[in-house]
């Protein structure tokens, strides 16, 4: 927006001082690299190199203690043929992602829409609603949840008031995962804050113009709010999917993957292989399979995004139409 003014000022400064032009010509590249140096070193040393290392480990029987043995594709073969726990963890993880991500997004969007209008006392509401997310994936919340949904827990004592006989929600394989999903959905605050930020960027006059044309609230939501918010929705969706795939703490602390592996989410299984049985080579292969799954899902979502994500400033407001 302000870039147009830039060259004019630069030209003027170039006339006044030679040093201005000098700075522009080659000082900036060196300065640029100096500024990004911390990240660059970190990227090479803590991301790129470890990734290659982990790819290498995935073809070995690495255990941290004994000498590394190359085993070729054996780890991958085992994963896809005889490892039943892998199949179970993929099933559990997909169920968790498919249930928790949409529910969380719907809750976040609905509350953001309401909070975007209620003005008085908004900070109190915001704090209350954000609170569960604030305490996030901490061990404290996980223990709280275990207590609430236990056999003698709070949830059952409420049900008892209505004469409904409760059960051990966390110790029952049919419901254990759902109590973890509920915990995730309860923590919709971060997505909500990002939706709120997105809502604030929608120009008000769009709504005013459409009310003049007699559009209903529902029409406005569908024709203005949703399209204008679609980039934010996309961001929340992708981040939500990636985070859900990596869910760990609550499965680890609340259920430890049980009962009967009903909450054996992928990250939990990977941790078990890597740091309980120290099969680091096998776990590396699991990690790469996980990466490929996430990439596949993200690419699929990205491919569909051109049909529903609208960016301002592109022809007709529509991307790739």
């Amino acid at each position: 927006m302000n870039r147009a003014a830039g060259p004019a000022i630069q030209a003027a400064s170039g006339l006044k001082k030679k040093r201005g032009a000098f700075l522009k010509r080659w000082d900036a590249p060196i300065a640029g690299y100096l500024f990004i140096m911390p990240w660059l070193i970190g990227f090479i040393g803590l991301t790129a190199y470890p990734m290659l290392l982990s790819l290498y480990y995935s073809f070995t029987d690495y255990t941290l203690m004994e000498p590394v043995q190359w085993v070729g594709f054996r780890n991958y073969e085992r994963i896809f043929t005889i490892d039943e726990k892998f199949a179970q963890s993929v099933k559990v993880t997909f169920l968790y992602v498919l249930a928790s991500v949409p529910l969380k997004l719907i809750a976040a969007l609905a509350v953001a829409l309401i909070l975007n209008k209620a003005v008085r006392g908004i900070s109190a509401y915001r704090t209350a609603i954000y609170f569960p997310s604030l305490i996030g994936g901490s061990i404290a919340v996980s223990l709280l949840w275990r207590n609430i949904f236990g056999v003698d827990g709070f949830f059952n004592s409420v049900l008892a008031l209505f004469g409904i006989e409760g059960r051990g929600w966390i110790t029952n394989p049919d419901t254990a995962l759902w109590s973890l999903i509920l915990l995730t959905v309860w923590q919709f605050g971060s997505s909500m804050v990002i939706f709120l930020a997105g809502l604030k960027q929608i120009p008000k006059d769009l709504y005013e113009a459409s009310s003049v044309d007699g559009a209903s609230r529902w029409m406005q939501f569908r024709k203005i709010t949703l399209p204008m918010l679609s980039p934010t929705l996309y961001f929340n969706l992708v981040m939500g999917i990636i985070n859900a795939f990596q869910m760990f703490t609550s499965a680890f602390v609340i259920t430890n993957g049980g009962p009967m592996n009903s909450t054996m989410v992928y990250a939990m299984y990977l941790y078990e292989r890597a740091f309980s049985s120290y099969q680091l080579g096998y776990a590396s292969a699991l990690a790469w399979v996980m990466l490929l799954m996430i990439v596949a899902v993200s690419v699929t979502v990205a491919a569909t995004s051109k049909y529903w994500v609208f960016y301002e400033g592109e022809a007709g407001g529509r991307k790739g139409a």
């Binding site: 590249p29 991301t47 223990l143």
Partner: protein, 276 residues
């Protein structure tokens, strides 16, 4: 009338959201026998849950665990703020060869699941002899990585891009160096975004249970989260009140931080214009 309905709904909704926490406060004052009673608060609050809980790890107290956690948090926070603002200034303000390439790589690592890096990083830090020190947390943050590091750079770059360029141009004319522009012009203007980064950084590292679990193994280096897990394991659910009391205390710092800074928090996200 509509406003009344909206507020009524919001109050009800807020109550549902914080209800588990109200129950939590009540339960932290209960004895084991009262825990399953439907009453929110016990007839006779058992305050000793807090004092006994504080000393429930033999030979250690929670004072020690809090000092550990805060030391780690402060070190990580300083490292994060130093590195992420420098890098964000570089990407957001300066032009250099291959900038777009490096920035796309940064965006890609934003989506990289941590699980792919856990094992090789653990192996590397193990070989360096960094296990059971705080180095596996501080060093990555000093290099704009670690829990959320790349996200902070992304957030700050978005913010820096929104600051008018005329400001640096006129500073440059006055003979200010790039570092001077970073320090004296951009840094002060980045305040809302820096507050956002501070909150996220504090929360995510406070909650980085898996990281603490992997790298810290002697009790004198334990963080609060690990200490709570230790009581949980050693007592096998025999002292729920103490456990819930200590868990409750453990969320106080994060809650206070958010309450004081929440206005900046939303502002920081709104102005950085996170989109897709």
């Amino acid at each position: 009338m509509k406003n009344v309905a909206r507020h009524a709904f919001m109050i009800l909704f807020s109550l549902i959201m914080v209800y588990p926490v109200i129950w939590w406060i009540g339960a932290s004052l209960k004895s084991n026998s009262e825990l399953s009673s439907p009453n929110l608060f016990p007839a006779k609050p058992k305050w000793s849950n807090f004092t006994d809980g504080w000393y429930s790890v033999p030979g250690h107290s929670f004072t020690e665990f809090y000092v550990n956690t805060f030391s780690l948090e402060i070190a990580v926070l300083i490292a994060t703020l130093l590195s992420s603002t420098l890098v964000a200034f570089g990407f957001g303000r300066l032009d250099f060869p291959l900038k777009r390439f490096w920035f796309s790589l940064l965006m890609l690592t934003l989506m990289l699941p941590g699980q792919v890096l856990i094992i090789p990083q653990y192996a590397m830090f193990h070989q360096l002899g960094w296990v059971n020190t705080y180095l596996p947390f501080v060093v990555p943050h000093l290099l704009a990585g670690g829990a959320g590091g790349t996200f902070f750079v992304f957030l700050l770059v978005q913010f820096v891009r929104g600051i008018p360029r005329e400001l640096d141009e006129s500073a440059k004319m006055d003979g200010c160096s790039w570092f001077g522009i970073y320090l004296r012009i951009i840094m002060p203007l980045m305040k809302p975004a820096i507050v956002t980064v501070t909150i996220f950084c504090f929360l995510w590292n406070w909650d980085d249970f898996l990281g603490h679990l992997l790298y810290l193994n002697s009790v004198d280096k334990y963080t609060v989260g690990l200490a709570i897990r230790m009581i949980n394991d050693s007592q096998a659910g025999q002292q729920w009140g103490q456990l819930l009391a200590m868990s409750l205390v453990s969320i106080v710092p994060a809650t206070l931080l958010f309450m004081f800074l929440q206005r900046y928090f939303v502002e920081g996200i709104a102005t950085s214009g996170i989109k897709g």
